[in-house]
């Protein structure tokens, strides 16, 4: 396992987030040799998902003042004709991490349920010797003070030994936590442990149960859904990467109005079955949605409102305020203030087109979490010969002074690895490279709760809820509630993801008011009976994540032409951004078309037919492998016929459809040889 890496690849990919992984898979699949590294010990970067204990160690990582190991000075490893562009040692994309545990942290109540829930053959017995901690709430105002219960991941994993008594279990920092001088504002409002112990009998989930069942959790750092006709679904299917994943259809679209959570009817059947809508409203809604399906055909209906916002436009339609609210927030999922009529219509149409492909809502969620998807692409890359190294940091890019191109990387061992192309995720670039870049922030909350925000016949619901802005100027909050059959949380709990663009300082400031509207802090529940309908909060995590999407290439300083930057996750619901930029990688290769190529080869006007995809494929391969001879008729053939980048990017999509055995014998041999060398 501790082999030395080969010192030459076609492509080096740094970062294992979704876009990087898609590119890695595409390159590997098309026969290029790929080295894919991540400085972290897990796949996915900010797209990762974690078990509960894994998440606790992730949290810990972000509070430790750890500057990484000493690196051998790369300055000594580069030649005079070269320049080094340093990469970042410590990730800076996560801030304001706060953890609040509402669940009881003593272990002496209803432990039998643990066995029942997990169907554990051995019975778990309770020793009930621990004094309950004084406070059940630990809240922390900033990362450096964070001392919530953090059990060692390994220790937590070992726990589920059948005859371990809960009373003897090691809960890591439980006691430290309640004793430490933490922000106690929340704790002050809450009853102390004894109240809960005396509380009426109910199957209450304790913190130790969550820890014990920690492996059942797959908690995503980034909360997204897949539009059932979106780019990512198409890509998964075309590339056959879909074989590694399974999905569930989101079962409900919810809306929030006047303090109540309601189900939004969106399919024809939903609309007609809805008890909330009057007959008149049903007709209005159906008429409007039917119009949206092909609004382009009836420009007269909206032309006059192109300059207005979508919400103003909705007011002019025959829709009750109720319906306007749902169309705006729950179907188009757009903002009241800034979305134009056209954008709103387009989003509504997109939503409607995605309906019914796999179920009653337009969205799919991957089992085991969104973090599964980058790994699926990585598996595909590995199957086609890609080399994977996690916990493998890169010190710098080596740039040739004369050509301005990147030649190699130097890794944390000081090994030089050369390649033709380099894909780097934004968070690996240093402040020096990014000094002109302004990043936005995403506010995130992850909650573990004990009930759904809207109870239904079945408790296995996957719901998306948009909570409109609380006050003018603040942002709508997207809530995704996952049930245990999504394989992201233990039975009897729900995993709730909240996401919005940051507007205040911290994620908690942005999101806590919404959390309080929807949920009851665990221990308060028994006191305020009228509040009982709301689900109880068991555990909450808040953090901010940097949004590096939509940054133009020119903003980065000194980027060599063969280095491509991938962005981290954006705040949107879908994955459009992640997939789109992977097409840009191949398009950037085409900047070569405009600059480096003799005019003779440039498209002549009047050429109409576009080249055969197979020709473009071969062209791209030869081009990327530097085996393209300028006198090759292929060049003339492809070139004279490619009219615009769109046909190029549709051609690069074809890369997925052609298995490597379509390549010429020569290419195939070199591919094969490379494998031989690799496996030696």
């Amino acid at each position: 396992m501790a082999d030395k890496l080969p010192s030459e690849f076609d492509v080096v990919v740094i970062g294992t987030g979704l876009p990087e992984s898609i590119i890695a898979a595409a390159c590997s699949r098309s026969g290029q040799s790929v080295l894919h590294v991540d400085s972290r010990s897990y796949y996915g970067g900010n797209w990762a998902s974690f078990s509960f204990s894994g998440l606790l160690s992730w949290i810990k990582e972000y509070q430790e003042e750890n500057n990484g190991e000493e690196w051998t000075a790369w300055q000594e490893l580069i030649l005079e004709t070269e320049e080094g562009v340093a990469l970042r040692k410590k990730d800076q994309t996560i801030q304001h991490v706060e953890v609040i545990c509402y669940a009881s942290q003593d272990s002496d109540e209803h432990v039998e349920e643990v066995g029942a829930v997990q169907k554990n053959p051995g019975s778990v017995t309770s020793a009930s010797t621990n004094d309950p901690p004084d406070s059940m709430v630990t809240a922390c105002s900033d990362t450096s003070e964070l001392t919530t219960p953090l059990s060692e991941p390994e220790a937590a994993r070992e726990v589920p030994d059948v005859d371990v008594t809960l009373g003897n279990e090691n809960h890591g920092g439980d006691t430290d936590c309640s004793q430490s001088p933490l922000e106690q504002e929340k704790a002050g409002n809450l009853p102390v442990g004894e109240d809960v112990v005396d509380a009426p009998k109910k199957n209450r989930i304790t913190y130790s149960q969550i820890v014990k069942e920690g492996r059942r959790f797959n908690i995503d750092l980034t909360s997204k859904l897949l539009y059932s006709r979106g780019l990512l679904i198409d890509l998964l299917i075309k590339s056959n990467v879909s074989r590694y994943a399974e999905f569930k259809n989101v079962t409900r679209i919810l809306g929030y109005q006047e303090g109540n959570v309601l189900q939004v009817p969106c399919s024809r059947a939903d609309v007609f079955n809805s008890k909330k809508l009057t007959m008149v409203e049903k007709r209005m809604l159906m008429k409007f949605l039917t119009f949206c399906l092909d609004y382009e055909q009836q420009p007269d209906e909206y032309k006059a409102y192109e300059e207005c916002t979508f919400s103003e436009y909705l007011k002019t339609q025959k829709l009750t305020p109720n319906l306007q609210h749902f169309v705006l927030h729950s179907i188009a999922m757009t903002s009241e203030e800034s979305t134009s009529t056209l954008d709103g219509l387009r989003e509504t149409q997109n939503f409607l087109r995605c309906l019914g492909r796999y179920g009653n809502t337009p969205f799919l969620f991957p089992l085991y979490g969104q973090g599964e998807l980058p790994q699926c692409f990585c598996r595909m890359c590995a199957v086609f010969g890609g080399t994977y190294c996690l916990s493998h940091a890169v010190q710098c890019l080596v740039v040739d002074k004369e050509s301005g191109k990147c030649k190699a990387i130097i890794d944390h061992f000081g090994q030089r690895i050369s390649a033709k192309y380099f894909i780097v995720e934004d968070s690996y670039l240093t402040e020096k490279t990014c000094s002109n870049v302004t990043y936005r922030q995403i506010s995130r909350a992850v909650l573990i709760t004990d009930q759904s925000v809207l109870k239904a016949d079945s408790d296995q619901q996957i719901s998306i809820l948009t909570v409109p802005p609380v006050e003018p100027g603040s942002e709508a909050v997207r809530v995704v509630e996952l049930c245990s059959s999504t394989m992201t949380c233990m039975k009897g709990t729900y995993l709730v993801h909240l996401t919005c663009p940051s507007s205040k300082k911290t994620a908690r400031e942005d999101l806590e008011s919404v959390v309080q509207k929807l949920f009851t802090p665990y221990a308060e529940a028994e006191l305020e009976n009228e509040e009982l309908k709301k689900p109880n909060l068991l555990w909450a995590l808040y953090f901010n994540m940097r949004d590096s999407s939509d940054i133009s290439r020119e903003c980065y300083n000194d980027l060599p032409s063969n280095v491509y930057v991938c962005c981290g996750p954006d705040g949107f619901l879908g994955n459009k951004n992640a997939v789109k930029q992977t097409g840009m990688y191949s398009c950037s290769m085409s900047s070569f078309w405009n600059s480096a190529l003799p005019c003779a080869y440039k498209p002549t006007s009047g050429t109409t037919s576009s080249p055969k995809p197979s020709l473009i494929l071969i062209f791209l391969l030869k081009f990327s492998q530097n085996t393209l001879d300028p006198s090759d008729t292929l060049l003339r053939n492809v070139f004279s016929r490619v009219l615009d980048l769109n046909s190029l990017s549709s051609a690069t999509e074809m890369l997925w459809l052609f298995p490597p055995y379509l390549f010429s014998q020569g290419q195939h041999n070199s591919l094969h040889n490379r494998c031989l060398i690799k496996n030696c």
Binding site: M1, I237, L367, R379, A382, V383, N679
Partner: protein, 225 residues
């Protein structure tokens, strides 16, 4: 994906009246171990009855499917998952491990170092995948290349002891080259998987969605250029 019974009738209908004619199982089985011990060769031998001394590239080998008519009432679809070269630097994706119901850990009897790595692989496996009831998946140890000279002196009783101590269900001396014991080892593992299954049948989740080419093709025809 793997692991569930997809036989007819469904769990609900099984309530006594109709006796199921055949039960179908899909089992995902992992084949792990150090580089060059013969994992890919074992899969190829078992599934395609092929062996090549020179075949070394793991390229394109993802998983191989073998259908077993287990008995008159049971059909087993076995998915053997190759490690796809990721063993070299040791970072497997969860995609590889998830929902596996059995595993082979392979070492090369002519290279003692590959035996020393066996426990590392077993521990890694147990930390990443468990059955629904929380116990480790049945795992069989394969001492491969038994057509060659041994590099160690583990007696069969020592091997038995080793398996007992380290949670292996059993062990076999195999050769992908001479086709020794491979069918037997697979039978043995499947027996154990089936026994587990009888004790803790997986609940089949009918709402899972698999995306595939057919859905796309059927639809894209209309909008093709």
């Amino acid at each position: 994906m793997a692991g569930g019974a997809s036989g007819e009738p469904g769990p609900g209908a099984a309530a006594g009246i109709v006796v199921p004619e055949t039960q179908e199982h899909l089992f995902k089985v992992l084949v792990i171990g150090e580089l060059g011990v013969g994992k890919t060769s074992i899969i190829k031998r078992y599934v395609h009855q092929l062996f090549s001394q020179h075949y070394r590239a793991t390229i394109g080998v993802d998983f191989a499917l073998k259908v077993l008519n287990w008995d008159s009432k049971t059909l087993v679809r076995l998915q053997l998952w190759d490690i796809a070269g990721q063993e070299r630097f040791g970072n497997m994706t969860r995609v590889y491990y998830k929902e596996a119901v059995g595993a082979f850990v392979v070492f090369d009897i002519s290279r003692e170092s590959t035996f020393e790595a066996v426990l590392k692989w077993k521990n890694d496996l147990d930390s990443k995948v468990q059955l629904a009831n929380g116990i480790p998946i049945p795992t069989v140890l394969l001492a491969n290349k038994c057509d060659q000279n041994k590099d160690n002196s583990h007696s069969p009783s020592q091997m038995d002891q080793f398996c007992k101590e380290n949670g292996f269900t059993g062990w076999f001396e195999t050769s992908a080259k001479d086709n020794i014991n491979i069918d037997e080892a697979v039978r043995f593992l499947v027996e154990n998987i089936l026994a587990n299954y009888k004790n803790f049948p997986n609940e089949d989740d009918v709402d899972k969605i698999k995306l595939d080419h057919t859905t796309l093709r059927a639809e894209s025809k209309s909008q093709c250029c």
